[in-house]
């Protein structure tokens, strides 16, 4: 295989680069060792920052966030819910910080309006009675799955190829250039060599590993953050705790749920990242100080992601820069490798723009960036990720032969067909986890116990699963969902988990497979 630009990493940054390059007419291939959103882009808070959170420590990153916040609201409205946000302080919070906050915002040019405490509690009745100060800001919530799917779908429609489950395992260099990138299929172990002109390393937290493979170096620290999703939506707006960034500071609403987090734990390795019971309990208890209802709320899922923070310096991880880093490895003797890492989901577009500018410069291409003004189209295939889309569509009318495979979230066979059609022709086997990423399958009240079996059976019938692989795949899919359930198993979620185990172990004996 051969291409001009190989992009490593199917997160917001990598798919953003793919779309940006594709819009400039540059031939490219995007690869991910797993799938889209396998890293931080699939495990973040979904907050489209107004920048206010960073005003005190990192005004430059704050300003970038505010600029991009406005751009994305214009070009990608379908991925964003313009909820607005509040910064809220409760009794006991640092009064000096509260007093300084509006000044910081003003200095950075970030809108921030004081709100009377009484009024704030009327706007958001879930706030604690012990509220002592509130400011309104322009925060919003953003759906990272839809965002990333839209980026890659448009890139694909312009000729970019996306190879899933292909891991970069080596680079073959010729003098100071990478001539070839070696990929390994995660399932079959088969190797694939891609000849390239340029390589973009957009592998987020793994950027150091990739750079090292190529003989370059990037210094990153890993900071794990855990988040929990509530069963129903708790506030209208994003609520930030008005204090120096700490654990369980932010509640982000989105659709019918709210997401509370995060924690910040320094990690040594990127293997086996998952939320722990201690973190979940900490988020619930600390979050309840600001939003008392969190103490008794029902939770549906917990997850954890890793922030790649720049510079191995000491000190508090929360004060490390949230700015991004674009590294041209030519300075270290590799002429055609660039790394883009750090940053935020909020600034992904800007990061992609700067990266694509550098790539085009190297390739002698003078096409300008188009993503600042061009709307991010809403594609047909990506709509199955949107909560509530399926039921609406279903009740509007449907082909009578189109059976619902997921009865909780109402995802029909035709949705699975569409999703499969979006996979690269290169793939012969289809995986449940990949389908789950692109739809609501597994996200309803059965947590995947039933729909996993129905979809697997359907994949066999369609001939895209065979031998034992399709059934083994149920295990992979449920285990992926399990990571998010394990820490939240009390009351009714535990009952659901027991039913799942009775079926999949008690009856099917899948643990013996």
């Amino acid at each position: 295989m051969q291409t001009r630009v190989l992009i490593i990493g199917g997160g917001a940054t990598g798919t953003g680069v793919a779309r940006d390059l594709a819009l400039r007419g540059v031939e490219c291939i995007l690869v991910d060792k797993e799938d889209i959103n396998a890293g931080a882009s699939g495990a973040n808070h979904g907050l489209l920052h107004s920048g206010a959170r960073y005003v005190s420590r990192d005004p430059e990153a704050a300003r970038e966030c505010w600029d991009e916040n406005q751009i994305l609201k214009t070009v990608a409205p379908a991925c964003i819910e313009a909820t607005g946000g509040l910064f809220a302080a409760v009794q006991g919070d640092d009064e000096g910080f509260i007093a300084d906050f509006p000044g910081y915002c003003e200095k950075t040019g970030i809108p921030c309006t004081p709100v009377d405490v009484q009024e704030a509690r009327e706007m958001e009745p879930a706030l604690s009675e012990r509220l002592i100060a509130a400011y309104a800001v322009e925060d919003a919530s953003i759906d990272p799955f839809k965002l990333v799917l839209e980026n890659i779908t448009e890139a694909q429609s312009l000729g970019c190829r996306f190879l899933r489950r292909m891991k970069v395992v080596g680079f073959e260099k010729e003098k100071s250039r990478i001539r070839r990138v070696d990929l390994e299929n995660r399932e079959t172990g088969e190797r694939l060599a891609v000849e390239v002109d340029m390589v973009v390393n957009a592998s987020g937290s793994w950027a150091g590993q990739i750079a090292a493979l190529a003989g370059a170096s990037i210094d990153l620290i890993y900071s794990k953050g855990t988040l929990v999703i509530t069963h129903s939506r708790i506030t209208h707006r994003v609520i930030n705790r008005l204090r120096r960034p700490s654990d369980a500071d932010i509640l982000v609403p989105g659709g019918t749920v709210s997401i509370m987090g995060t924690t910040s734990i320094r990690m040594k390795s990127l293997e086996d990242i998952h939320p722990t019971v201690a973190e979940v309990d900490r988020i619930v208890e600390e979050g309840a100080v600001m939003i008392p209802g969190l103490e008794t709320a029902r939770y549906i899922r917990a997850y954890a992601g890793v922030r790649p923070l720049l510079g191995g310096g000491g000190g508090d991880d929360r004060s490390a820069s949230r700015g991004f880093d674009l590294v041209d490895h030519a300075e270290a003797g590799i002429d055609n490798l660039v790394t883009i890492t750090g940053g935020k989901l909020t600034t992904y577009r800007l990061m992609a723009e700067k990266t694509a500018d550098l790539v085009c410069d190297r390739l002698g291409i003078s096409e300008p960036c188009r993503t600042r003004t061009r709307p991010l189209a809403s594609h047909h295939q990506t709509r199955w990720t949107v909560p509530g889309f399926s039921p609406r569509e279903w009740f509007k009318g449907h082909d009578p032969e189109d059976l619902l495979l997921c009865e909780c979230e109402m995802v029909p066979q035709s949705a699975v067909d569409q999703i499969i059609a979006g996979f690269d022709v290169f793939e012969k086997k289809v995986d449940l986890t990949g389908i789950g990423k692109r739809s609501r399958i597994g996200k309803g009240s059965c947590q995947g116990s039933f729909c996993s079996v129905r979809v697997a059976a359907y994949l066999y019938d369609r001939g895209v699963a065979s031998a034992r692989q399709g059934t083994v795949d149920i295990k992979t899919f449920l285990n992926e969902r399990w990571k998010g359930q394990r820490c939240l198993l009390w009351d009714s979620p535990l009952i659901q988990a027991e039913l799942q185990e009775a079926m999949h172990c008690g009856l099917f004996g899948l643990e013996l497979l």
């Binding site: 019938d461 198993l489 535990l494 008690g506």
Partner: protein, 431 residues
């Protein structure tokens, strides 16, 4: 408000899962005046397969052909397992008795004495079980002998794929899938086992079905179908199909809610009432009071409204409330409790230890070992290690120190411990 009646009984059984059913049967067969209260859902006894012991040690995934040797090995390694309180003779008597009861109500079982069979599951895996509904037996035989066989599925019945099952069972030369239309499709194209089973109780639908299967038969010596062959007349439905096709026909369980559970629930409710047990079906015990350590008064009613509709007075109680799914146990964020009697629950030290990071970790989750600890007469213990009440017994999956889902011993454990609990209540000497 309607006046609340009090029913006087000797033994009250809480639960209508397998343990509760077995306890009710053994109790009435000993002539005990029995009351039974419980909510049945057909998801609870889903497959129809009756496991005795399939796997031990679970972390080594060791499967047993002889369940009794398996139990011996198990109780050697796990001396607190409920099976350790039972002799082989007791387990055998319990099973013989209960299978006889099932057979008497038109749900006959097959087994080979002392030998597990390996049976087909809805996803095409094979699992060890002890007794098999007669309607599924030809499948176990065909599977063992690898006879040429046809697996049929239906367009519209989701989560059941003959292609998946045949691929999973490979290598099995002569095993083939076939997809056919279901003879009587209702207004929706979605098919559900209960509705399919009802329609196959009509003769002309069976004739149509056989006609549709026949062209695919070829050399097949048996035909496997999803478990939809009738509800009330299931034996006749299958016999008729076998006559039309000229080969044995067998059922394969579907994903829950599945017909075998529904059949069992339906027959049990009529049959146990006919035998004289006072059954408070689809009711829950909301509160229990003790009467000067001599007996119990149970408030029976509706869980949702909390309205008390009946009282049951009993000299003894068998608690067969199941685990979290049955709601015999309840978990909060910090601890697991037994809600009715406030019995101590054996459990891991903290929630972080309840579950493994890998859902399918073969060692199983520690929470599944939690439950009620008892003395050798299946009487729950209080915090000091003595029987909490003279005449309170526990049976089934609520018991601690077992993992029926991994050890594949769900039904066997439920039936055998129910048997032992009833006999202990009667003061009958151990076998």
């Amino acid at each position: 408000m309607t006046p609340v009646n009090t029913f006087e009984s000797e033994l009250a059984i809480i639960g209508t899962g397998l343990a509760g059913m077995a306890a009710a049967y053994f109790s009435q067969s000993l002539g005990i005046r029995t009351a039974q209260i419980g909510v049945s859902s057909s998801a609870i006894y889903a497959s129809g397969y009756l496991d005795l012991l399939g796997v031990h040690p679970v972390e080594r995934r060791q499967q047993w052909t002889d369940p009794f040797s398996g139990i011996e090995a198990l109780v050697r390694d796990a001396p607190f397992h409920p099976y350790a309180r039972l002799t082989r003779a007791e387990i055998q008597q319990a099973l013989d008795g209960f299978l006889g009861f099932l057979s008497g109500m038109g749900l006959p079982y097959e087994r080979r004495e002392g030998v597990n069979s390996f049976v087909i599951t809805p996803v095409g895996t094979l699992k060890p079980t002890y007794a098999v509904p007669e309607s599924m037996w030809a499948g176990a035989v065909a599977c063992e002998k690898k006879h040429p066989c046809l697996i049929v599925d239906f367009w519209g019945l989701k989560g059941f794929s003959a292609i998946q099952i045949t691929q999973m069972l490979s290598p099995w030369p002569g095993l083939r899938p076939a997809r056919i239309p279901f003879p009587a499709v209702g207004p929706s194209v979605d098919l559900y086992p209960e509705q399919m089973a009802r329609s196959l109780e009509i003769e002309k639908n069976r004739v149509r079905l056989a006609e549709d299967i026949r062209p695919h038969l070829m050399d097949a010596q048996a035909v496997g179908l999803p478990a939809v062959l009738g509800i009330y007349k299931s034996a006749a439905v299958r016999a008729h199909l076998e006559g039309l096709l000229g080969v044995p026909v067998f059922e394969i369980p579907t994903i829950p809610p599945s017909l075998p559970g529904f059949r069992l629930k339906e027959r049990f409710e009529t049959e146990i009432a006919r035998k004289g047990v006072r059954l408070f079906a689809q009711k829950r015990v909301l509160k229990v009071e003790t009467e000067n350590r001599k007996g119990f008064v149970l408030s029976v009613g509706d869980q949702a409204t909390g309205e008390i509709q009946d009282m049951v007075r009993a000299r003894g109680v068998i608690l067969a409330g199941g685990r979290f799914l049955g709601m015999g146990l309840r978990a909060g964020r910090k601890a697991i409790i037994e809600p009715l009697f406030g019995l101590p629950v054996f459990q891991p030290g903290k929630r972080a230890e309840w579950h493994e990071n890998d859902f399918f970790n073969p060692a199983g989750h520690q929470i599944n070992q939690s439950g009620i600890e008892t003395d050798e007469h299946f009487r729950p213990l209080d915090r000091s290690g003595h029987p909490a009440f003279e005449n309170l017994y526990a049976a089934g999956s609520i018991l601690a120190h077992q993992d029926w889902m991994r050890q594949k011993c769900g039904a066997g454990l439920a039936v055998a411990t129910a048997y032992a609990a009833v006999r202990a209540f009667m003061g009958i000497k151990r076998l």
